[in-house]
Symmetry: C2
Subunit: 470 residues, 2 copies
């Protein structure tokens, strides 16, 4: 162990190898649920250094835990056992010159998502992935978790936006799959395999990402609706009327709004009406010739006539738009400040979301009467963060956490959905996966793991519990 | 062998098991380059029958070759050695009720693409994959080859359109991955792995496909341009001006037009001007409020002022639109009727297509002076079928086929592109893959193959040459 630490220190220098107190900030996950003390933190600056780190660890039989911005919610980027090496690509954060004619850009895995957004701004291009943690989340982690976020209904997940990748494999060799074309069918889709593998099959070091023309115009509305069923009906209408411009169709509920207004005093609510559900609707077009506001206004009018929409406001400025989005994005924070919480990450076929919310509420109530439900998230793609707070006055969930989580997972599964929609499995949801997915499916995944990482040292204990026999 | 044939005949009945003369129509590939005589053709009607066929073959040590519409161009759906069992899912062609609220539909793998298009027509929904062979190609084959086609620039490839799959694995067990959500990150993206695996890792039996609202309006133009460089510049302008409505940006060249007009006498050319390149541009919107024609007209006017566009016509009727598309889609047929031909399937970063066409032409000319170049295909995503006819007066390529193919593949590879963009590797391009891709990449693919199909009986000799040691 000491020998490995010495080799890594020699290889990477004082900025590239952190141990002891310096390693502490990398130790625990965002929700502070996981993370043992690592041997140290490797911070290489080149792909070949990454390869050397992985090789040295393999020779020493030491686990490698890739860590991006460490904003994940499932504990996939910290060590399950003491003594592993955390591999941070924070010093590999270069963003290449975008190729506007081809719509792509090469970035290093340590680049922060918001920095990429900013770098593209003056070029009239966008990388359309957006999520709450974009100020800290790094491209490598976003690829590893196959991140989704609030624009996925239009632009897809990370796997839809990655054209090519460079990966350091578990044996330290480098796969150069940095091709910059959408159509590449020369064999298995390896580039897709590394999206969502959570660093268990290798470490993504660079990627070619797909870019889109920046919107020339955008309209954003905050709406108040009487019920989830109404929200779904209105969402369906928007999907067909706002069509290819519909970039965001986000939702939160009245109980969540109350929590965020209570705990985040600077927030204000701009509508006069309260209802069960709020929608944040955003339309955007790269063409200046589309009557976006007219399209949205007509849809709103229809919604009001149908009594699906109670109240609403269009953002009149960029500041107001930011305020509307903040109301949606502070939902997790409002709930966190209320005390104990249970987070879930459910997707169901979008047309069945209100059914899930109702049936899920009944299940939760039967398991823990009075438990407070706070579903929010991405109405457009059926992904809701079906979060819970304890019953009014209670400080915890009376030990029913696992039961509730399993009940919701089973319900989503029966509806053709997922209990791990966009946060991945990490360490937190392996048990749920083993319970709710077939043994055939879990065995297929174990086979992939064994085939690509036979020594089992790449992020062990994440995605699959498998470890090689000693 | 006789025993296996008898078991399969017993299992599947007279309509489900074809041998001898009845198996002949399944034997050869579309281009009649590959295909040995199979033991017979299994035509099961249920997933469990598919599982039983695969199990029986495995017990007997006999290869299984999944075959869809058999329209592939790389020989991936016929037997490399005599005596295998061809597995056709033609009798599993059911198309489920589309779920309009969720934007998805369940289909059996034997469903023909055009039948799916037709079934969706009255529902106001589309499945946006389009290609020349859509009247014969089956969903299972389209998934197996990760098909692209002419709308991929807007809607992506098959892998972008498949939400869930059901797969019979090489041991005959069934993986039920028929989930109907975009966001499912409960482990490795298995659903993506089977897209493009060409039946070598299992047989796709059913799929959940993503649907979109049908366009309410569409405009189509046929344009004549002076050169490839102009076509790229105009294409770039369209990408930013026509933005999210740009559904098709197809190209063909003057030599190809001449061949199709010569051999397909019913074709007529509607423009008065000839140039080096022709573009077929299609804009579509699900919203009736977008001034599509105005957007396209403005772009055309800009193109003419910039001297990038020489001439053009908007389709004034559905019949005329069909005629424009036929000019593009008959390019392969016109060339085929001219005699010997060499087909290539190249993708490069879209902004570098004219560079590829010029450099490729010089390479070809140096290898075989006078060889006639006929690039056509998908300008929007950089995928060109860089096809060749022999020099005027010659009947063949003087034995330079492999050299030319390799020179073009190497050029595309150097440019960050692919030599197997949308037709896959099949049997035809394994050699090219072994030459133009790193050993690391090929070994990764071999590992996946060994992990999922250790007995090597699923479509052996396709994608990877690997076979298990006896």
């Amino acid at each position: 162990m000491f020998e490995l630490a010495q080799s890594l220190a020699d290889l990477l220098g004082p900025k590239g190898w952190l141990s002891g107190d310096e390693a502490q900030p990398y130790r625990r996950d965002w929700l502070n649920r996981y993370g043992e003390m690592p041997l140290g933190v490797a911070r290489p600056t080149t792909t070949s250094e990454v390869g050397a780190v992985v090789s040295l660890c393999r020779q020493a039989g030491v686990a490698v835990i890739p860590q991006g911005g460490n904003t994940g919610l499932c504990g996939g980027a910290v060590a399950g056992k003491a003594g592993g090496v955390i591999l941070s690509l924070a010093r590999m954060a270069a963003i290449g010159q975008p190729d506007a004619a081809s719509g792509s850009v090469v970035v290093e895995a340590g680049a922060i998502l918001a920095a990429l957004h900013e770098a593209l701004l003056p070029r009239g291009l966008i990388f359309p992935l957006h999520l709450g943690a974009e100020g800290s989340a790094r491209i490598g982690g976003l690829i590893g978790t196959n991140a989704g976020g609030s624009h996925a209904l239009r632009y897809g997940l990370m796997q839809d936006l990655v054209l090519g990748v460079e990966v350091v494999l578990p044996d330290g060799s480098v796969w150069d799959g940095l091709r910059a074309v959408q159509k590449d069918n020369a064999g298995y889709q390896l580039r897709k395999l590394f999206c969502g593998a959570e660093g268990t099959l290798g470490v993504v070091t660079r990627a070619v990402l797909k870019l889109f023309p920046a919107p020339r115009q955008r309209v954003t509305a905050l709406l108040c609706l009487p019920a989830w069923e109404a929200a779904l009906r209105f969402g369906g209408h928007l999907r067909s009327e706002a069509a290819e411009f519909l970039s965001g169709l986000e939702c939160f509920c009245d109980s969540g709004l109350s929590l965020s207004l209570k705990h985040l005093r600077e927030l204000t609510f701009p509508l006069e009406t309260r209802g069960e559900v709020y929608l944040l609707v955003e339309l955007a077009s790269a063409s200046a010739r589309v009557p976006l506001e007219e399209i949205l206004t007509a849809a709103l009018q229809w919604g009001m006539e149908q009594e699906l929409v109670l109240d609403g406001a269009l953002a009149m400025s960029e500041a107001q738009r930011g305020h509307f989005w903040r109301l949606r994005e502070e939902q997790p924070e409002g709930q966190r400040l209320e005390g104990a919480q249970l987070k879930h990450d459910i997707a169901v076929p979008p047309g069945r979301l209100s059914e899930f919310i109702a049936d899920g509420a009944a299940l939760c109530e039967s398991l823990l009467p009075g438990v407070r439900i706070n579903p929010f998230g991405h109405l457009g793609d059926g992904n809701t963060h079906y979060n819970l707070s304890p019953p009014e006055g209670a400080v915890d969930f009376s030990g029913r956490e696992a039961e509730i989580g399993q009940a919701l997972a089973a319900l989503a599964t029966r509806m053709g959905g997922s209990f791990a929609a966009e946060h991945g499995l990490g360490r937190a949801k392996i048990g749920l996966a083993d319970k709710n997915r077939s043994t055939v499916e879990r065995e297929l995944m174990a086979r992939l793991k064994r085939a690509l990482d036979p020594s089992g040292l790449m992020n062990p204990g994440v995605v699959i519990a498998w470890e090689p026999k000693e």
